[in-house]
Symmetry: C2
Subunit: 505 residues, 2 copies
């Protein structure tokens, strides 16, 4: 088994080992029932002492993630098994529960995936009546038919154009359309400066694989987007998180931290931040850009929601102020138009762009032409009127959610209504047993994203994210009522057992 | 600037530095006109001595990749500039030629992209009359209209299905269809064992990012697929290449090498190998699987062409003999059906599969549903009859190519006709100036893939790959005639200058 150890670090080696294993066990990468490598094997693999591995295993046993017995070795506990295998294929479950498959040898196969919260929370999540965990727009509100029709027209007229590989950088026509789209939003950018990616997830991943390596310092807001944490962790980055207030990331704190740990990259979602909904002020945006310029580092500006404002449009993007190529701007069209197309756009300059295009070629040779063509005509002709209607629909949902929450408010629970976007961040009373809440809520038919998934290292946090746009108003209100009921029920049990609250981190 | 140095290696540090920089310069990642970091800066970045960096730069100067002058520093030479910027956007060219853009600071930004041959050879390649460099099927032969029609029917009936995120693992219906498809080819595999990827390029990349890290030993055929070399190089793998003969990879040599360097992964294209067209014998396939089992390593079996045989079907896939989960099998449907959809399928078992799905979630949240749905119905109902027709068409092209080559054969040039696939590998007389040939051939309107792009470290090799299926018969024949004429013309110049033949490697 491979674990990235930082030998000069102030964190002791056995703690580093225990933390990494805990992360992998919790995210399901090391499955319940798995036998961990023997202390002797692990000692050899990692080049550390027997005592170090023994202490790491003892830590994991203390927090009840593994059970060890003499002669038999250490096994990942099955307690989480029920939680983690819900919603999985029957075959996969069978596979997990059998320690004697012919591919048992695979557990000794080293991998480089330290964390996979995204996968755990979104792919294996059970089918429930009220799915509020996924940040998305209710399918009925999306212009799917229009997009399919325009793709059909385009491709029946020129089938041979669909039969070719696109350019690695993305379809030129689509990039031209995007240029017009961005210009209307104060961002003057030529098609040559764009790279089409398969969703912003890939945009984040391409930036990370190109510019972030082991030990490089990456700053992120705390909390932040789960998928971005997964990516930077997988690159072995030193992730430092920066608290937020009502104006977004605390640039004063960031500045002080940068003195000690110069940044390689700063990842931010400045507008209708995921998961908190907070918008970074114009002043802080300018400060952040200044900081990046003085440290010669990159800003990765993730901007999926800028068009989804409810009253006033948000402050100008950081990218629109960038004259020196410090900002890589990534814009998703998945959420707003078509999750089934997975089209996003990255904007960058100079050799940063060149290097991203090269990385894209290595990753997948370029995004599919079909999905790019499908969106192009719609964005050019119909997007502007569509987005006005969509904003109204989404705002109505936020108001409905707000009404239900006010009515069923549990003492100690609070939230701030976002001015745009899809997400609502709920703070719950401190000490509430979040695992129990999640379990009971799923059992009652409501899914949410536990706040812990949005923190590096999964700190225990009494918070959760719901998406208020993923279902119709009726479903949203019913789901929230059920959720508030469950919160109420779980309240007395606050505290839970020590093991449930991940004391390690 | 970041360079991965292996301090215990038998290759001297200055050679490692020179090799890496040469690779980046040749693939265009470090652009002509770029000023390299000063010796002092590089010394500090890499933690090596001033002498080491000076010697590395001297090597690069000796092979004329850079020019150094006192006081001014070292610059990447402009000689390759013309070759590399052909076919690029005007804006990009302008950017390259100006050393004074506002994003000059970016050159100091460390990246982790050691090689990008794929990008260099396929994206920036000039528009020519006869494009024989790209391994693809002539668009008119592909069932694009049928695919688009079936996508349209499916998605007009159920637009809301297109409006959702797909599962990370891929659309279940498509995986079910694939199960039937593979069963007809002797590969019994449940949909639960599959992962849909965006082309095989992504499949290779996912396997590499999950299981290959710095120093891990990866075996490949020599020559092999350019895009796979890029991927494994980018992971910092120790790549060892194994020569081939008429039965494919030399397993006897591989076995001996494995004694000294135990494998983490063996990448192979056993059927109608890219670029050579050779097919691995059934006996060697079984030997290879045995070897993987005894070394507890993975085989990555890349199989884009198995359906494209001209007379007899090829030996059974290695995967079909695999009962212990050692083989990750990746099957492209891009080339055969629709490059515009970029759909491929990976098959794996146990935790290897689980980990690949987790990696896919981090990479892009799953492939677009639209392209998956587009292919599903066609593969289910029309693929079988389509592929029979396609084989005949492709075989006719091979015969036409063979006739022209026989007629215009240049002394010292030879080839073996492949029994399937899309590629023809030409060996040219030793000592022929390949750079000059490439330049003149492009000028005459014919593109090809220089053999050097298919080798790790880009050895100088008098060979090239053409694709005989990418154009119609007439274009193919004309292009080959022009190419043979250019080869004839370049012949007397054999030898070239020492600098042109990359003596460093």
């Amino acid at each position: 088994m491979h674990i990235e150890l930082k030998r000069g670090s102030s964190t002791k080696l056995y703690i580093q080992i225990a933390l990494t294993l805990a992360d992998r066990i919790r995210s399901g990468l090391i499955e319940p029932g798995t036998r961990l490598p023997s202390v002797r094997k692990m000692t050899a693999d990692l080049g550390v002492s027997l005592v170090t591995v023994s202490k790491a295993y003892a830590e994991l046993e203390a927090i009840q993630l593994i059970t060890c017995s003499q002669g038999k070795g250490c096994y990942v506990r099955g307690a989480q098994e029920i939680e983690q295998t819900e919603g999985m294929d029957k075959n996969q479950q069978a596979e997990r529960n059998h320690d004697n498959t012919p591919w048992n040898w695979q557990m000794a196969l080293v991998d480089y995936l330290p964390r996979a919260q995204l996968w755990r929370h979104f792919d294996a999540s059970p089918q429930v009546q009220y799915e509020l965990h996924m940040s998305a727009i209710q399918p009925e509100l999306l212009p799917t038919t229009e997009i399919i029709n325009s793709a059909y027209r385009l491709s029946s007229d020129h089938p041979e154009r669909m039969a070719a590989y696109g350019s690695f950088q993305g379809d030129r026509e689509l990039r031209q359309t995007f240029a017009g789209h961005f210009a209307e939003r104060g961002l003057q950018v030529a098609p040559e400066r764009m790279l089409i990616t398969s969703g912003t997830q890939q945009g984040i991943d391409l930036v990370a694989r190109t510019f972030v390596g082991p030990g490089d310092v990456v700053y992120m807001e705390a909390p932040t987007y789960t998928g971005a944490i997964d990516v930077f962790t997988s690159r072995g980055a030193k992730i430092i998180t920066v608290p937020m207030d009502g104006e977004g990331m605390r640039i004063d704190l960031l500045t002080r931290l940068c003195d000690t740990y110069p940044p390689k990259l700063i990842y931010t979602i400045p507008t209708y931040h995921n998961p908190t909904g907070v918008t970074m002020s114009a002043r802080r945006r300018a400060q952040l850009l200044n900081l990046a310029q003085s440290y010669h580092c990159l800003i990765l500006e993730d901007d999926p929601f800028a068009d989804l404002y409810f009253r006033d449009s948000p402050p100008a993007s950081i990218k629109s102020m960038d004259t020196t190529g410090h900002v890589v701007y990534i814009k998703s069209f998945s959420k707003v138009l078509s999750p089934g197309c997975r089209v996003a756009c990255a904007i960058a300059e100079g050799s940063v762009l060149t290097r991203l295009v090269a990385a894209k070629s290595t990753a997948d040779l370029g995004s599919p032409l079909l999905t790019q063509k499908a969106l192009q005509s719609f964005i050019q002709h119909q997007y502007s009127s569509y987005i006005v209607r969509l904003r109204k629909e989404l705002y109505a949902r936020l108001q409905a959610a707000s009404d239900v929450l006010e009515e069923y408010r549990v003492p100690g629970m609070y939230w701030v209504l976002p001015e745009g976007g899809l997400n609502l961040w709920l703070q719950l009373p401190d000490g509430l047993d979040m695992r129990e809440l999640h379990r009971q809520s799923l059992a009652a038919g409501v899914s949410f994203l536990p706040g812990s998934a949005c923190y590096v290292g999964e700190t225990d946090t009494a918070s959760l994210r719901i998406c208020f746009t993923v279902t119709n108003v009726k479903g949203l209100c019913e789901g929230l009522r059920v959720l508030c009921g469950v919160i109420q029920r779980v309240m007395p049990k606050q505290g839970g057992t020590a093991a449930d609250r991940l004391p390690l981190i």
